[in-house]
Subunit: 289 residues, 3 copies
C-alpha cells in the first residue's frame, strides 16, 4: 500500500465563502490539494466526511485530513462533534479545529505570557473571558496551573465560564470577576502578573491609566487587532515591547507564534489518521517551536 | 505544441456541494488540478464547457477533461447531453459520467458476477431494476448475453426497463417480473444463477429464507450499503464470501473493484480528448484490471 | 525568508460560478494553487484580501496574487477599487483585472491594428465605443496617439466616452460620432484607416456594402464572437485575412494574441507584489510577445 498519497486537506468552513487565510496557510504548511467548502453545517458535513474516509485505504488515510474553520466558533464546534460521530473504527482522518483562529490565537497568547512568567500559580486576569478566544485562554491557563480570574461585564457570565473550565480541567483555580466599570476592572487587576484581553473588535476593556496603576503587572496581551485596542496604549504590533516595565503584546505581535502553531498543526495532521487538534493539542505544539 | 500540459479535471456536480469522494479519487488517479463546481445544471453548464474547450490548443485538449457527478443520476445525464451539444468538431474534451457512482457500481457488480458465472445465457435476476443502478446493471448484463430478469414491485415499470434496454441493446434477452411479494420474488428467482439487488437504502428485497430456498443460485450481490441490506443475510463487507454454496457480495465488497474502475476511467480521460465514458465504456475497463 | 513559496492565485469572480476559462489559463501560466471564489462583490471582498496579505511575509507576498474576473465589467472594477483600499503599505499583492476578458481583448485588438498601421495620428473608428471593451479600445488607441472616432447610436453617449478618455489620457485626440444609421456610419468611416467593432453579441454595426465603400480602410477588426458579426463579411476566424485590400480580424483571430497577453499578465503578477494590471499595463505586455 502506498505511503506517498498526495496530502489532501478538506477545508470545511461554516461561512458562505471558505477562508482564504486558512487556505494559504494550509498550502504553506505542505498541503498538496485543497478541497474547499463553504456553507458547511453539522447537518450537511456527514457526506463530506464519508468522501474523506471511504476513498483511501486505512494505511493511506494519514494523507487525508480535515480543517474546520469559519467565523462562528460555536458552529465550528458543532461541525467537529458531527465529524467525530461520522468516524468509525479505523475509518477516520485527523482534524484541526480553528474557527476564527480562536484556538491558535488563544494558544499563542498563553505561550507569549509563558515567556515572561512561570504560569503555575501565576495570577492571570482574562478580560472578556466569555468569548470563544477568552474561554480557550482561560482553559489553557488553568491547565498550566495558573490562578485564573475570568472577567466579564456580567458576574453570572463570568461564573459560567469558571464552571465550564472547572468541568474540563480538574483542580482548576478560578474566580469570576464582574468588570463593568473602570474601578471594578482595576480591583480585578490588583496583584495580577498577566492580563489578557480577548474582547470584541473596537472595545476598550482597560484604560492606560488603569493599566499603569496596576502593581506587579509583568505582561499585557491584547488580542484585538482592530483599533481602538482592548488594552489602551498597547500597540497592535507590540511584541514583548517594554512599556513602563510591562512586556506588551498586540494582536499582530502574537501573530507570528499563532501562524507557526497553525502551520505546525496542519503538518501534524498528516502524521497519523487519528488526531483531533483542539486548543490543548495546538497549545502543546508550541513547546517544539 | 506542448504535450505536457498539467492534467485539469473539471468536476461538475449537480449537488450544491461538489462531491469530496469524487475529488479525492480524481487526485489519486493523477489529476493535477481540480476545478470543482457544485450546482451544475443543463442550463448553466455551457459556459463551463466553453472554458474547457477554448483555452488549450487541439493537441493539448487531452490534458483537460470533465467529470459529471452528483446524487441525481437523471440530472447528470441531462448535463452530459448538454455537454455533448456544446462540443463541436475537434473542440471537445473527454467526459466521465458517474453520478452517485451509478456507472462504476453497476460495472463492478457485473464484473463480480462474471468471476463466478459465464454471463452469456446465464439467468440473472435484477431486483429493483428500475433505479439508475439497476437499469445500468440490466443493460450491461444484456450486452454480455445474459438472460436478464428485470424485477420491480410494478410489472409495468419492470416492462419499461426491458423496453429501454431492448432499444439500447439489439438482441437483448429480457423478461419483466413483478416482485411485490415474497412468493413472487421466489418464483422470479427460480433457476437464476445470479441475483443482484440494486434497491434503495434500507429496503429488504429478498429474505434469507427465500434466498436459501433458491435452487441453482451461485452468486448474490447486494449493492445497498446501508443496513438493513437488500439481500438479508448478505453482509456489506462480503466479497465472494461463501454462504451455503452461494458467493456473496455486499456493497463494500464490490467497492474495491468499483474504485479501480473509477480511477482507471479518470486516467483514460487524459489519453485522448474525445472519449465519453458511460456505463459500457467503464465496464470495458474492467477487462484490464 | 523563503523566495520559493508556491504561486497562489486568488481567483475572485463576480459571477455565481468562478470562470473555468480564467482558471485554466491561470494554471497554464504557471499558477500552482488556485483559490477560486464566485459571488464576489465590493462588499464581501475585503476579508478575502486580508487572507491574501496577512498570511505571508513581505518578501514572500510576490508569490500570492489576485485575479478579478466575471461577466460584469463594472462589478469587477468596483471589486478592484475595494481591493486597492484594503491594501496598506507593503501589505499588498499584485492584481490582474480582466472581467469578461475586456482588457485582454481590447489590448489584443489594438495590437492587431498596430501590425498594419502606425497608430500615431492614424484615424480609427471605434464602433460601440460605449461598452466596456469599446471604451478600453478607445483609451488604448488614444494613448498611442491615434485620432479616435468614438461611435455610438447616441451622440451624447459617444461624447461621454470621449470625455472619460480625455480625463484619463492627456492630449487625447477624440471625436464623438452618432452612428444610428448606415449613412451616419458610412460618413464616420470616411478617411479612417482602421475600424474596430466592439458591440454586443449578434448586432451588425457595419454592412459589407458600407465597409467596401470606405476609402483608405486598411484594417477591420470585429470583436464579436457570436454570429451575426458586428462587421458583416468578416469571419470570426479571420486573422489578418485580406478581404478586398483590407486586413480583417475576427474575435477568434484576435484570440491567440489575447490568450498570450492573458498568460503573460498572470506570469507578471508573480514578479513583484505591487502590480495592478489594468488595460494599459496589459497592453504594454504585448511589446514583448
Amino acid at each position: 500500500m502506498s505511503m506517498n498519497k498526495p496530502k489532501i486537506l478538506l477545508q470545511l468552513d461554516t461561512d458562505a465563502q471558505p477562508s482564504v487565510f486558512d487556505g494559504v496557510v494550509a498550502i504553506d504548511a505542505g498541503v498538496e490539494h485543497l478541497l474547499r467548502h463553504g456553507g458547511i453545517t453539522a447537518a450537511n458535513v456527514r457526506e463530506r466526511v464519508h468522501g474523506a474516509i471511504f476513498t483511501r485505504g486505512p494505511a493511506e488515510l494519514r494523507s487525508t485530513a480535515i480543517f474546520v474553520g469559519g467565523s462562528d466558533v460555536a458552529a465550528g464546534e458543532a461541525v467537529l462533534a458531527e465529524i467525530r460521530k461520522t468516524f468509525f473504527g479505523p475509518l477516520r482522518v485527523s482534524v484541526l479545529l480553528d474557527p476564527n483562529g480562536a484556538n491558535t490565537t488563544a494558544a499563542a497568547a498563553v505561550w507569549a505570557a509563558a515567556k515572561h512568567v512561570a504560569l503555575a500559580d501565576a495570577q492571570v486576569l482574562v478580560l472578556a473571558a466569555t468569548g470563544p478566544v477568552g474561554q480557550r485562554v482561560a482553559r489553557l491557563l488553568a491547565r498550566q496551573g495558573a490562578v485564573v480570574r475570568a472577567a466579564s461585564r456580567s458576574a453570572s457570565r463570568a461564573q459560567a465560564v469558571c464552571d465550564a473550565v472547572a468541568r474540563q480541567v480538574p483542580g482548576a483555580k478560578l474566580s469570576a470577576h464582574a468588570c463593568a466599570s473602570a474601578s471594578e476592572t482595576e480591583a480585578s487587576l490588583q496583584g495580577a502578573e498577566v492580563v489578557i484581553a480577548a474582547g470584541a473588535a473596537g472595545v476598550e476593556l482597560l484604560s492606560e491609566h488603569s493599566r499603569l496603576a496596576a502593581d506587579g503587572l509583568k505582561v499585557a496581551i491584547d488580542l484585538n487587532a482592530v483599533p481602538p485596542g482592548g488594552l489602551a496604549g498597547v500597540d497592535v504590533l507590540d511584541r514583548a515591547k517594554d512599556r513602563q516595565g510591562v512586556a506588551c503584546y498586540g494582536a499582530i505581535g502574537v501573530g507570528a507564534t499563532k501562524m507557526k502553531l497553525h502551520k505546525s498543526a496542519i503538518a501534524r495532521l498528516f502524521e497519523t489518521n487519528d488526531r483531533i487538534l483542539d486548543a490543548e493539542e495546538i497549545f502543546e505544539l508550541g513547546a517544539a517551536l
